[in-house]
């Protein structure tokens, strides 16, 4: 589903954010991406969502070489990837409904069909009763779940999450993780970047560990970094 082949990303000034990273995430697999801040987690996710391009090496999604995707095709690639952001990235002056509907509106949905899908997505994250609210009236956890609903509303085969539990207390974090597990169980591939080690330890999924831009561990549990 998602494959990195010897991917290096260096920025002008010589800073190497990712150094020859290779891994393969299977279809329907769920994995964590971890490491200190600055280890290259965000850069790795940016390469998948085509916010950045690798300096050398190749990224494949479902066998498609992303280096062959041109600028005009980038939006269409992003429609196939559900992205969840640490700071939610919601439109604050639009209702929860409008926020979740945004990817559908962009793809040309309208009317009953759109409403049905938005309600289904909000139902999955347990926020159906907040459909008319504005995001700033919601709690942090609820905002995060709106972000998740928006990411899954057009049923993407691949889900990326950047620190989805970053600012949440353990109980809320667990709720959010349960939501991800539920999507994974229906066949969605999920990659979650997180430095919440206790959470990773509890979840026991494959964990990719980055340190200074290098992949130092790829295994069932977090063990490599020097904590």
């Amino acid at each position: 589903m998602l494959r990195f082949e010897q991917v290096t990303k260096s920025y002008s000034g010589g800073f190497v954010a990712l150094d020859r990273v290779s891994f393969h995430l299977e279809k329907g697999e769920m994995a964590f991406l971890t490491g200190h801040s600055g280890a290259g987690k965000s850069t790795l996710l940016k390469l998948i969502s085509l916010i950045e391009r690798p300096t050398t090496g190749k990224v494949f999604i479902n066998g498609v070489d992303l280096s062959r995707v041109n600028r005009g095709q980038v939006p269409y690639v992003r429609r196939d990837i559900g992205m969840i952001f640490q700071n939610h990235k919601l439109l604050m002056n639009h209702s929860v409904f409008d926020n979740v509907a945004l990817p559908l509106v962009i793809e040309g949905f309208s009317g009953k069909d759109m409403t049905k899908r938005v309600h289904a997505a909000l139902d999955k994250v347990g926020l159906l009763d907040k459909v008319r609210c504005l995001p700033h009236t919601l709690s942090g956890g609820e905002q995060q779940r709106v972000g998740i609903a928006r990411a899954v509303v057009n049923r993407p085969p691949l889900l990326l999450a950047d620190e989805p539990t970053g600012n949440l207390d353990p109980d809320l974090s667990k709720d959010i993780m349960n939501v991800f597990e539920a999507f994974n169980q229906v066949g969605v591939s999920v990659l979650i970047a997180s430095h919440d080690l206790s959470l990773l330890a509890r979840m026991r999924y494959r964990t990719l560990t980055l340190k200074n831009g290098r992949m130092i561990n790829d295994g069932l549990t977090y063990s490599g970094a020097d904590e």
Binding site: S42, L45, K46, S49, I51, I61, N62, V64, V69, G72, Q73, P75, Y76, V77, R78, R79, D80, M83, F85, Q86, K89, L90, L91, L102, P103, I106, E107, G108, F109, S110, D113, R150, N154, P157, D162
Partner: protein, 326 residues
């Protein structure tokens, strides 16, 4: 269509729709977006009003100059219609020679009408109208010549002067005159004003384009975060720029309407002053207002200025906002 996942149904294509439905939805979508953009303008009344005002005032000047040219042309053409050639006959021309000349002129295909003024009749008229009646009674001989007023069939100044040259050659004609010198001067002034109007219009249109562009640019900047989010969830540039283009169109439309209103106000205000002048010239001149077609052109120009001004801004700015995301 999905690039990464062959066969993954995406977007509205996932739902089978017939062509007619899609056609209808296309327009419904555009109308909806146009109305949304109108709402956006409503949300920022101050800056939008200012832009509309700049548009309205800027377009008023070229429109005023255009109306001026139009009215001047009306004056010159109404005079041109009356262009007549005066033939002053030689003093010793007798009645049979006059009759001969009249017959000759009437047979000329270039001539529309011939009017003969006997010198006695001319003297009587002149005595009555000039106020020199007393003085004329002291003159024994009638100093005036017989006059023939010839109206040319083709009243354009070029054709009339050609006819003038021909009539000069007639045997009994002492002098032939066509008073078109000042008409030519008026024509020259009109064409000068028209060219000034075009130059001014061009400059002001560029100004309007830049003003609209700048307004839209500011709108884009205030919505930077929103645009970034839209890019992150897969919106194309053309999708993001569409509402801004509609905003530009609305700004142009309202600017055009404002121009029309200012113009009407101006005409109403000038009407009295113009009537004063025309009364002095005993002319039946009436001020021509903007016609419906001209209003249409004005709106078309204003709307396209709004559209292209905003296109200028979105082309430059929207692609520059990159999703920095994560």
């Amino acid at each position: 269509m999905s690039i990464l996942f062959q066969g993954r149904a995406t977007g509205a294509t996932a739902v089978k729709q017939n062509l007619w439905n899609r056609f209808v939805m296309f327009w419904v979508h555009h109308v909806r977006q146009a109305i949304t953009s109108l709402g956006e303008i409503w949300l920022t009344p101050a800056s939008s009003l200012l832009t509309v005002a700049v548009l309205g005032v800027s377009l008023t000047l070229p429109v005023t100059l255009h109306l001026m040219v139009k009215n001047l042309q009306q004056v010159s053409s109404s005079i041109d219609q009356a262009a007549q050639i005066s033939l002053f006959l030689k003093a010793d021309t007798n009645e049979t020679q006059i009759a001969e000349l009249i017959a000759l002129l009437q047979a000329n295909p270039e001539v529309a009408d011939v009017q003969f003024i006997d010198k006695g009749q001319a003297l009587a008229e002149f005595t009555a109208e000039s106020g020199f009646g007393e003085a004329f009674s002291y003159i024994e001989d009638n100093p005036l010549p017989h006059v023939m007023l010839v109206s040319p069939k083709n009243t354009s100044s070029l054709a009339a002067s050609a006819l003038l040259d021909a009539l000069k050659q007639e045997r009994y004609v002492e002098l032939a005159k066509l008073d078109i010198g000042w008409l030519e001067r008026l024509d020259a002034i009109v064409s000068l004003v028209r060219q000034v109007a075009m130059a001014v219009a061009l400059l002001l249109m560029i100004a309007v384009l830049l003003v609209v562009g700048n307004t839209i640019r500011l709108m884009i900047l205030t919505k930077k975060d929103e645009i970034e989010v839209m890019k992150l969830v897969g919106a194309t540039n053309s999708y993001i720029q569409r509402p801004f283009l509609y905003t530009g169109i609305w700004l142009g439309f309202f600017g055009g309407i404002l121009t029309f209103l200012i113009e009407e106000l101006l005409l109403w205000w000038l009407k009295h002053a113009i009537r004063g002048v025309t009364q002095l010239y005993e002319s039946s001149f009436s001020l021509q207002p903007m016609s419906l077609a001209e209003l249409g052109y004005l709106l078309l120009v204003a709307i396209s200025l709004g559209f292209f001004g905003s296109l200028l801004a979105v082309r430059r700015n929207i692609s520059q906002i990159e999703a920095t995301g994560l």
